[in-house]
């Protein structure tokens, strides 16, 4: 069955977005991308250190993938907008993950600045996927200013702690018409599957794959978990009965009329 996720006019058949940070070496990235099936791959923009020039990450991303530069390093909307424009000038296409972080202890995003950056970049033709703390009012606002998706965190970045914000994410999934993509915190394939079962449109995983014992094998495992979770969501899991069955019928008074 065809079940594409459409974002920014692009049809995606994989609902796993893969980050490229923290891999033991860049050569693993293409293998991990292929093994995971990911079609959207995130990258970042950094100042060059002329003493230690790095390889161009784009060379390690298989052709045909959508590049999604993030704005990591931005501490406010202005910086995020600047980074996004630079990434676009670098030929990354028009997707951008807005990430504005002014808190170095928990690395939690600044929702207010994120809304401002989203508004400006969406108006400028970007496909904007903002990374936020899950908050319904913020998500509504993001939808209003033109975000292409909302990416709530499951737990603080890199913490591998899973869906700590489960209930809040559930509310976003129920209330927001944009795709909800769980970003950050997912540490194991089972957690990715859980997010998908809940109805998340996709998940973004980086640390859990890049820092696994065997990143390529873990990428494959995540790819399958995401597929399984999505399939379960589509199948409509039976609801856990939380209430005992009431004994007295409520509709017994109705007789067949007519």
């Amino acid at each position: 069955m065809s079940d594409p996720l459409i974002i920014g006019g692009q049809k995606l058949f994989s609902r796993l977005f893969l980050g490229t940070g923290k891999f033991p070496n860049n050569k693993m990235i293409p293998e991990a991308v292929t093994a995971s099936g990911a079609q959207v791959v995130t990258i970042a923009l950094r100042r060059v250190d002329p003493e230690f020039p790095e390889e161009n990450i784009v060379n390690f991303v298989p052709k045909g993938c959508i590049l999604m530069p993030n704005t990591s390093g931005a501490r406010n909307a202005r910086e995020a907008v600047r980074i996004a424009r630079m990434a676009r000038a670098a030929g990354c296409g028009n997707w951008v993950k807005i990430e504005v972080i002014a808190d170095n202890r928990y690395l939690l995003p600044d929702n207010y600045e994120t809304i401002k950056a989203t508004e400006e970049l969406a108006a400028d033709g970007f496909v904007v996927l903002p990374y936020v703390s899950p908050d319904l009012m913020v998500a509504r606002k993001l939808a209003e200013v033109g975000a292409a998706a909302v990416m709530p965190l499951g737990a603080p970045i890199g913490s591998n702690r899973g869906l700590q914000t489960r209930e809040l994410i559930r509310i976003l999934i129920e209330e927001i018409s944009l795709p909800v993509i769980v970003d950050a915190g997912i540490g194991r394939p089972s957690q990715a599957a859980e997010a998908m079962e809940m109805g998340a449109a996709a998940v973004l995983v980086n640390t859990a794959i890049a820092t696994a014992g065997d990143p390529v094998a873990m990428a494959r495992a995540f790819g399958r978990a995401v597929e399984a979770g999505r399939a379960a969501f589509l199948a409509g899991p039976g609801e856990v009965q939380r209430y005992a069955r009431a004994s007295s019928p409520l509709t017994g008074f109705l007789r067949d009329e007519d």
């Binding site: 129920e174 039976g238 019928p249 409520l250 509709t251 109705l254 067949d256 009329e257 007519d258």
Partner: protein, 367 residues
């Protein structure tokens, strides 16, 4: 934005074949879902779902208690005037009907208000026919000024207004709007509204939204059951409520499922809607919009109203009178339609208690 767009999406939908394809399993799966889609809601309104009413009822009952508690809000309608220039075929106030029309003077209003306030009610719903000549917005405002002294919540059920006029009334102290589309099917709408300003389908359809933009606190929409196929009408009413709730999250949205009642010399309903149909509608709506209010008026019979307490009802009218000036006795005129549950407020309160629910007279005060 307008609900009209949503209406158009489903206007030419093939309801019959959608209903035909549904299986019992589909219905059970939908009942067990946490969040229903529009089509899930439609499925629960299908003939197929009639077999699962008890399951729907159990869930609707739980959801209602979860979101509202075991509480029924009581309110009463107060008719200000029965002048009307419309020709709605189902209504006793239509312009063609010859009877002595009446409009409450402010003094008469005050005595009516006193009588009602004496029963303990704090929520009032004021009604008029459509006559900007006899019941202009300025008159409604004067009435609101008086009613504010007696009631903490004032709802209006009058002809549709412009946004600025709603804002004016909100400023004056109105916090609720009830406006029924009567019938969502545009064709039938035009048939049953043969003349008068009410022929403007869109202006009426968008009225609740204009009130939301004007800062109203609650809106109540509905279709008059009996004018057209109740399943699709219930479907559009639910979609309308859901649309309003999604677009204006700070507004409380509710529906009424009024069934056509006879009025002196009036037309019979075009479609019969039996008790089972009414119950199915309420249950399906509750599952679709768990936080949406459901208002049950005195149009319904006393025994049925009592059963409905546990089936998703959140508000009930009591001690109603559909004639202008009906309470303080003096000059009672012809009613808009016949009511069916004539019990007074104190009796209703006792009855509600006897079912394990608390009657509430006041859940809101404008500050």
């Amino acid at each position: 934005m307008s609900f009209y767009k949503q209406y158009q999406r489903f206007k030419d939908f093939d309801y019959a074949s959608f209903f035909n394809r549904l299986t019992d399993q589909d219905i059970r799966r939908i009942i067990n879902k946490n969040r229903l889609s529009e089509l899930d809601y439609l499925a629960l309104l299908s003939p197929r779902a009639e077999k699962c009413l008890e399951e729907m009822a159990q869930k609707a009952h739980r959801l209602t208690i979860q979101h509202f508690g075991r509480v029924i809000l009581l309110y009463t309608p107060l008719y200000l005037a029965d002048y009307c220039i419309n020709s709605c075929v189902y209504c006793g106030f239509r312009v063609q009907n010859k009877f002595a029309r009446k409009k409450l003077s402010l003094d008469e209003l005050e005595s009516e208000a006193r009588v009602i306030a004496g029963t303990g009610l704090k929520h009032i719903l004021i009604l008029t026919g459509e006559s900007r000549k006899h019941s202009p917005v300025s008159y409604i405002k004067e009435c609101v000024e008086i009613l504010k002294k007696y009631f903490t919540s004032i709802g209006i059920e009058i002809y549709p207004l412009e946004e600025a006029e709603y804002a004016e009334l909100v400023f004056a102290g109105v916090d609720g709007l009830t406006i029924y589309q009567e019938v969502y099917d545009e064709q039938v709408y035009s048939e049953v509204h043969p003349a008068g300003p009410k022929r403007d389908y869109r202006f009426r359809l968008d009225a609740p939204e204009r009130a939301c933009r004007a800062g109203i606190r609650s809106v109540n929409v509905g279709a008059l059951l009996g004018l057209y196929d109740w399943r699709t009408e219930a479907f559009f009413t639910g979609l309308h409520a859901n649309y309003l709730q999604n677009s204006y999250p700070d507004v409380e949205v509710s529906i009424s499922p009024p069934r056509m009642r006879p009025y002196p010399g009036g037309a019979a309903p075009r479609v019969m809607v039996n008790d089972k149909n009414l119950v199915q509608y309420m249950l399906a709506f509750r599952l679709f919009v768990p936080r949406g209010g459901i208002s049950i008026s005195t149009r319904e019979r006393p025994e049925l109203r009592e059963y409905l307490i546990k089936l998703g009802t959140t508000r009930m009218s009591a001690g109603s009178c559909t004639a202008v000036g009906g309470r303080s006795g003096a000059d009672k005129s012809t009613g808009q339609f016949e009511i069916s549950d004539e019990r007074d407020v104190a009796t209703m309160a006792r009855v509600i208690y006897s079912h394990g629910y608390q009657p509430v007279y006041k859940d809101w005060q404008t500050i």
